[in-house]
């Protein structure tokens, strides 16, 4: 980017003012979180990948800082520092720059986000519907006319797995891999395969603990390390190592994942349609109490959308949607503008109940929010970004 002309600056400022008026009018407190953030919180939460697309640097005292890559984490940090209690209800809105590096300059490295975050809302589904309604109202207030809304629900998938017969660690693996479609398919295929898993350099160790219980496995690991003169190093105890070896031994004797379970997972992931009729497809998958509860939440959310004056029939639901967004834990949505050059994502949001604990809240705090890409939105309406 090489700066904005005065006309571009005025157009963007006017648009953002209309967007923020919607959020403020709904009772969201307009805050200005810090642009400079401690890098640690982002790196610890998201791992190394974020460093490759963040501006991380050292301040003169040697502290590692970064330019915020989004405003959600800074808004949540603001909350933890200012709220009476971490789980006090709070509604924030914000508008300001965020910074992300993209290789080869595929996207601008400095861009604006206008958004809301609703923490510790008393009613989950009503707050989700409200956030969606506000996001839609905000892009409309900015002047966007043609757009599509996509919805997903990560909680339903977790609930589906819960009702399928498999070892708990397999469930954890599938959830962990869910947002990487390729790895997910491979993991699923491995669990479903009837043939012996391929041998690796640690297979002889697994052989050794095949018929041992937890205590016996740990004993074997300890004596093996002692025999080889290996100290338990690097933050992992003999107990950790033994527990994973025992899992591997159990995997060998476990029955492969039943074809019905594989079928259920694939059938679930194929579900798509308008948000109201998708409900009927989702209902056919019900087989566990957890799933029925998740479905009930979906139903309540649809009702809450109607109460907000939204038409769920106009929204597109896809079961796998949101799998590429590791951030979120439940309801997710995206608003795509029909721009001249094809669909352009202008807003996204959803539920992220783990974030506040991840960044230091001593108690769990539920959270739902959304962010609008302000330049994207302006570009979608034909203005320059």
């Amino acid at each position: 980017m090489s700066g904005r002309s005065s006309a571009e600056r005025v157009a963007l400022a006017a648009q953002n003012e209309r967007v923020m008026a919607v959020f403020e009018g709904a009772g969201f407190d307009h805050i200005a979180p810090d642009i400079l953030q401690p890098a640690d919180i982002f790196l610890e939460r998201s791992g190394e990948d974020i460093r490759a697309n963040s501006y991380v640097f050292t301040d003169p005292e040697g502290a590692e800082m970064c330019l915020r890559p989004d405003l959600t984490v800074p808004a949540c940090r603001y909350h933890l520092m200012h709220a009476v209690r971490p789980d006090s209800e709070a509604r924030y809105c914000y508008c300001g720059p965020a910074f992300r590096f993209t290789q080869g300059g595929r996207a601008p490295s400095e861009f604006g986000q206008a958004g809301i975050e609703w923490l510790a809302a008393p009613d989950s589904e009503a707050s989700e519907a409200k956030v969606l309604a506000l996001a839609i109202a905000a892009v409309k207030a900015a002047g966007l006319k043609r757009f599509r809304v996509k919805l997903g629900d990560l909680n339903l998938f977790h609930a589906l797995l819960d009702g399928l017969d498999m070892p708990e660690r397999w469930r954890r693996r599938l959830i962990h891999q869910f947002w990487r479609p390729q790895a997910f398919r491979e993991t699923l295929a491995r669990f479903a395969a009837r043939e012996e898993l391929s041998r690796t350099s640690i297979s002889p160790f697994v052989d050794q603990v095949m018929n041992k219980d937890a205590k016996g496995t740990q004993g074997w690991v300890e004596s093996e390390c002692e025999r080889r003169g290996l100290a338990p190093v690097a933050g992992r105890s003999a107990e950790d190592v033994a527990a994973r070896l025992a899992d591997k031994a159990a995997d060998r004797s476990a029955h492969p994942l039943a074809p019905e379970a594989v079928h259920a997972i694939n059938a679930y992931l194929a579900i798509e349609g308008d948000a109201a009729s998708a409900l009927r497809q989702l209902e056919t998958m019900a087989r566990s109490e957890t799933y029925r509860e998740a479905l009930e939440r979906y139903r309540r959310r649809i009702a809450a959308m109607r109460a907000e004056g939204l038409r769920p029939e106009d929204f597109f639901f896809a079961a796998p949607f949101g799998r590429n967004l590791e951030y979120y834990t439940g309801f997710v949505f995206q608003i795509e503008a029909d721009a001249a050059l094809g669909p352009l994502q202008v807003a996204g949001g959803g539920r992220y109940d783990d974030l506040l604990s991840d960044i230091g809240s001593p108690v769990p705090v539920s959270a739902v929010g959304c962010a609008i890409g302000t330049e994207q939105l302006l570009a979608a309406m034909g203005g320059r970004s």
Partner: protein, 232 residues
């Protein structure tokens, strides 16, 4: 005609092997009088200047277009250039300086054989300790690319500029990415290479700026080197 600039490692085994190979190919190296440490000429071919640089500077100088050709380790070249960067290309692999860039973990991790195990361990490590598993390395980019490709994301890099293999024992990292020729340093530090943990099988290469691909001097240099490499 503007002289082509060839970067050559300024010291160590890489320099000796490069000089020997060039000699064998009929391109004797002569060092310039006053600044013999930094500049030279290539014999047997017109208008090729030699710049003596450190191996890592050679990769950077190629990327920045400060030199036209250079001899360096493929590890440094791949670390410095993005995979899609087509401004620099490998012209010839030189059959010396063999070494592998590998992912290694403590031998005491009897439950870890593959990158997928490391992924699982990094997840439970985060849940247990509230901090990310650390990987010590000087290969920041190779590590990020390889780990991302293997779907491992829950880790952090600790930049290490020497004695990387000692990091796990010193408690500054849990795993490492390092270069190794025989693996004996790793073994001595009670580390093991993951089954699918070879990031790159590296050797010395002659790399060039693609814009001088069609230069006749490059063709002559390449032909000479190929003949020398084919000789027993």
């Amino acid at each position: 005609m503007t002289a082509l600039v060839l970067g050559i490692p300024s010291k160590g085994r890489l320099m000796e092997a490069t000089e020997a190979l060039l000699g064998k190919a009929g391109f004797a190296l002569t060092r310039n009088g006053s600044d013999r440490l930094y500049r030279g000429r290539l014999g047997g071919i017109e208008d090729v200047d030699v710049a003596f640089l450190s191996a890592s500077e050679i990769a950077t100088s190629l990327k920045e277009g400060k030199i036209d050709l250079g001899v360096t380790g493929e590890d440094l070249l791949r670390e410095t250039l993005r995979p899609e960067d087509d401004r620099v290309d490998v012209l010839e692999r030189l059959s010396f300086g063999f070494a592998n860039v590998v992912v290694a973990v403590p031998e005491a991790w009897l439950d870890v054989a593959r990158m997928s195990d490391l992924d699982e361990v990094s997840e439970s490590f985060y849940k247990r300790h509230g901090r990310r598993l650390r990987v010590a390395t000087k290969y920041l980019n190779l590590t990020r690319r390889f780990f991302a490709n293997k779907g491992v994301t829950g880790y952090r890099i600790v930049e290490s500029l020497g004695a990387t293999e000692g990091a796990p024992a010193a408690g500054t990292a849990e795993a490492i990415v390092d270069i190794t020729t025989t693996g004996s340093t790793l073994t001595a530090n009670r580390l093991k290479i993951l089954d699918d943990g070879v990031i790159l099988e590296s050797q010395a290469v002659l790399a060039l700026r693609t814009e001088c691909e069609d230069d006749q001097r490059v063709a002559a240099l390449r032909a000479g080197l190929s003949r020398a490499l084919a000789k027993p």
